[in-house]
């Protein structure tokens, strides 16, 4: 495949912007520690972050945001909506930065010009959970699609989020990969958050797809066990759950607080915040694995997957 000059330049340009953002961030960090009041023109401003329920409900954002707020003298308004709604709020210009977990939806958001300066932030994984007696016999399967096929064939109750969240998007992709179009009485869409879906699954002795973080943080209240592990515990890579962070394009919405959004992206991808994400625990378990700081950065994180200059030019 010939290298396309235009694509290369664009990619390099975006990469340069992101690295400059990274540099100015580390400068901000040192200054912020010595004299927070002098800090940046953004002091006193409010950043609106729309995000998925998993980052919020696990308590991660509450744990790490005070550091950012103190450093820049700003306020973060975190609105937990689910990935689809979080991106829609950003599309409407109602937020400044989005933190979500559905690469496909993120790429669409980027391609349509609403988002810029996307960075890989962290990851955890999805797990297939269900009742301990495991009627479909999926325990220990090494493939999520095999497990879903077994659930569909035995028509065991499966609870779907059904809410256009990152987890729901992942679930639909897995069904598609399994070659099954789920439907019928055994397939139930709750249209609610992960926590409620887990409760519903508990009450019905049903299977569901959960992110590991929400499952761990709620495990004491539910009666489900992990039957198919994600990659963190040696399961299939298809169950990986990467999170990305993007600024709302100020060229589309001039109301977006772009300076602060970039400060936030710089901060949350900085070594300090990344370490804090890695150290965050619920019930003694690590929920999120930072991946913004790497000796070998993934260049593709800056552009939508499958992007080419032709498709972007129409």
């Amino acid at each position: 495949m010939p290298i396309q000059r235009r694509q290369f330049i664009t990619v390099a340009g975006v990469g340069a912007v992101a690295s400059i953002a990274g540099c100015s961030q580390s400068r901000g960090q040192t200054q912020g520690e010595s004299a927070p009041q002098d800090q940046p023109g953004v002091a006193g401003e409010t950043l609106t972050l729309t995000t998925t329920t998993s980052t919020y409900d696990t308590g991660l954002l509450d744990a790490i945001h005070p550091d950012f707020e103190a450093m820049y003298g700003v306020t973060v308004d975190a609105v937990a909506q689910g990935t689809g709604a979080a991106l829609e709020s950003a599309r409407n210009g109602d937020s400044d930065v989005v933190l979500v977990h559905a690469r496909g939806l993120e790429d669409e958001f980027m391609r349509n010009g609403y988002g810029i300066n996307r960075r890989d932030l962290m990851f955890n994984d999805f797990v297939v959970v269900g009742p301990d007696d495991d009627p479909a016999g999926i325990r220990g399967m090494g493939s999520a699609t095999e497990a879903l096929t077994a659930i569909a064939e035995s028509e065991s109750t499966f609870v779907s989020r059904g809410d256009n969240s990152g987890t729901h998007t992942k679930e639909l992709a897995l069904w598609a990969a399994a070659g099954t179009d789920p439907g019928g009485d055994w397939y139930q869409e709750t249209g609610t958050g992960m926590g409620e879906a887990l409760n519903v699954a508990t009450q019905q002795g049903a299977y569901t797809l959960s992110d590991r973080g929400t499952f761990i943080s709620q495990r004491s209240a539910i009666d489900l066990v992990v039957l198919v592990q994600g990659p963190i515990e040696g399961g299939p890579a298809t169950l990986a759950n990467p999170y990305g962070v993007m600024a709302v394009n100020p060229g589309v919405h001039d109301t977006a607080n772009y300076d602060l959004a970039m400060a936030y992206i710089g901060w949350i991808t900085s070594p300090g915040a990344q370490a804090a994400i890695g150290e965050y625990q619920v019930n003694g378990e690590q929920l999120f694995f930072p991946e913004a700081v790497s000796e070998d950065p993934d260049f593709q994180q800056y552009v939508p997957q499958g992007w080419s200059s032709e498709s972007s030019n129409g």
Partner: protein, 240 residues
Amino acid sequence: MSVPLDSLVGLLSAVVDLPFREGYVSSIIYVSLYVSGTAVALSTLFSLPVALAMGFTDFPGKRALKSVINTGMGFPSVVVGLLVLFAVSNQGPLGTFDLIFTREAMVLSQFVLATPPITAISLAAVTGVDDDVRDAAHVLGGTSLDVALVVIKEARYGIATAILAGFGRAISEVGSVLIVGGNITSSGGISKTRTLTTAIQLEARQGRYETAMILGAVLLVLVLAVNAVVVQLGDSRVMS
């Protein structure tokens, strides 16, 4: 107001192990009361004159207007939330005011929700006032304002009921404030747009039912207390 509430929470903590941070519950209660109180006050200021005008005059379309108001009493709150979201979103007609995810947006949606019941019940109360009372006030040389005040005084129980109905609808409402308010707390744990109802929704979503129950109890106590106060006022105060 935060001091007694915090000590109340402290008292509760002795009984149940509360996961609340200092100031969290009191700030949620404050936001609930602020939003619903402001919305109901504005609704009352709007509804009473409308109810008086409709009660005293006949005009074409009065019946139609009445049925519009009655329909409004049953208007689904999430639809109101959705419409207010469209209005205040940056793309909407009020977008320049930057109201999305603020208390003001929540006040706006609760105003829309509380106005129909307050208007309808006040209208019933005002219509129920004996015509002789109005006539007597006129005969004694009262201005329209005097007459209105006399009627309000006579109808004060009904009007108090109207305000309570509006307040009850506003403070127990969860759908629209969640949509337009965003359920935000600062990372210090102080509520910005989180109300008791949206906090209960959040706790239930996270499976923390005990916490949700405690907040539910606080909400119930609050509604009972406001009812008691308003009934007391309706009993004793001369409203002129």
